[in-house]
Amino acid sequence: MISIENVSKWYGDFQVLANCTSKVDKGEVVVVCGPSGSGKSTLIKCVNGLEPVQRGTITVEGTEVTAKRTNLTKLRSRIGMVFQHFELYPHMSVRENLCLGQQKVLGRSRDEANAKAEALIDRVDMLAHIEKFPGQLSGGQQQRVAISRALAMDPIAMLFDEPTSALDPEMINEVLDVMVELAQDGMTMMVVTHEMGFARKVADRVVFMDAGAIVEDRETEAFFGNPESDRAKEFLSKILNH
């Protein structure tokens, strides 16, 4: 479904991604982790073309993201993305946040969009808040809305960039629960996160990055049980021992 081949990217002289290769098959959940500044966000933003790459190719369902002539707008409408800071449209109610893309991008009717919005918002237990504005919701609630907004577009895959790291601890689980459910429903997911409990539970593979390179890309059990590289070992010991 998603294939990343020999991708390199530079910001000026600084190389953010160094020859990265990985893939996410249909229905698979891949967790991306690694120290701060290792290029995780950059990699995931390249998958839907939010960031261009200078070398290598990325393909999503047969569409080459990195090709010049690709209609990125169309491609992005089929890939959901969830951000660390939610990024809900602040001037729109929860309902409008979920309907905008459905109506303006997919061309659905208002009724159709509303029905879909209500069903999705109900699934994350937010129906009572559907007319509220993002600024009136807690972080956990906002992130659940953001996930619903992405799902409203019927995406073929979902990208998550540290969806819980801006949340207060007591709100992390309400968001992770939604993501676990999504994974169990068979959604193809690429998730940047340091929630190793989540990774253990639903990830098929774990990709470990350091300094722009993919250092390990292994089955979840193998990664946690027996990381090959010293850097992954060190990272895991730090993150699991607090």
């Binding site: 951000f83 990024e87 602040p90 577009m153």
Partner: protein
């Protein structure tokens, strides 16, 4: 001081007519120029934030040019110089047949000048929205035009209501410069009343009071607008 106060002069039919006509022209110039300033200013302001570099540069050049040449000089250029540098036919038409040349020139000059200031506010508003939201809009499949239309501009406009009000007030005050090219707006009429009646204090006081009333009205409208467009719980980019 030996000054014969006579407020009654303001209510003599002839002078009252002048004042009213002056107010009318002031409103006509300011409001028409404001329409130009908004349309052009929004286009230039948006243009400066576009990823297309040539467009952004052209818009930046516009702002620098119109913002930095004094408004009075711009009015003179439009009024006295423009007809000489365009083609002969057009120049002749501008000098002889163009209806209401003082008014048209004042509206264009004031409008294009204020546009450069509106453009700066629009640009600042767009930049204040923040890159995360833009990424989210693109990630959601919105095109660049849709991102501006549905996300960037609605938020940006709410953020810039107060500075735009101040530009709106300025356009009323700046419209008084139109008297230098012969438009009989409020200030010019007051001046004329002063000359005819020797009651300068009264005439200019009347003008002052009217400008202040306009300012209060605009501020009131701005407050109402701000209240109605406030985004619940939103404080802008942190």
């Amino acid at each position: 001081m030996n000054y014969n106060w006579n407020w009654g002069v303001l209510f003599e039919e002839q002078y009252l007519d002048w004042l009213i006509s002056g107010v009318g022209w002031t409103f006509a110039v300011a409001l028409s120029a404001w329409v130009i300033a908004l349309i052009v200013g929004i286009m230039i302001g948006v243009g400066r934030t576009l990823p297309t570099k040539p467009i952004a540069h052209i818009c930046a050049a516009y702002v620098e040019l119109f913002r930095n040449v004094p408004l009075l000089v711009q009015l003179f250029l439009w009024y006295f110089v423009m007809p000489e540098v365009v083609s002969d036919d057009l120049g002749r038409w501008m000098k002889r047949d163009m209806p209401n040349p003082e008014f048209v020139t004042a509206v264009i000059g004031l409008g294009l000048y204020t546009a450069s200031r509106v453009a700066e506010q629009v640009r600042a508003g767009i930049n204040a929205v923040g890159g995360g939201l833009v990424s989210a809009a693109y990630a959601g499949g919105l095109s660049t035009a849709q991102t501006y239309r549905f996300v960037l501009l609605p938020i940006a406009f709410r953020l810039i209501v107060p500075p735009l009000t101040s530009e709106f007030l300025t356009i009323f005050k700046n419209s008084s410069l139109a008297l230098t090219i012969g438009l009989l707006e409020l200030t010019a009429q007051s001046q004329q009343i002063a000359e005819y009646t020797f009651q300068g204090f009264e005439a200019y006081t009347a003008a002052t009071v009217i400008y202040v009333v306009i300012a209060l009205g605009a501020t009131l409208i701005s407050h109402i607008l701000e209240k109605h467009t406030r985004i619940p719980g939103y404080v802008g980019k942190g």
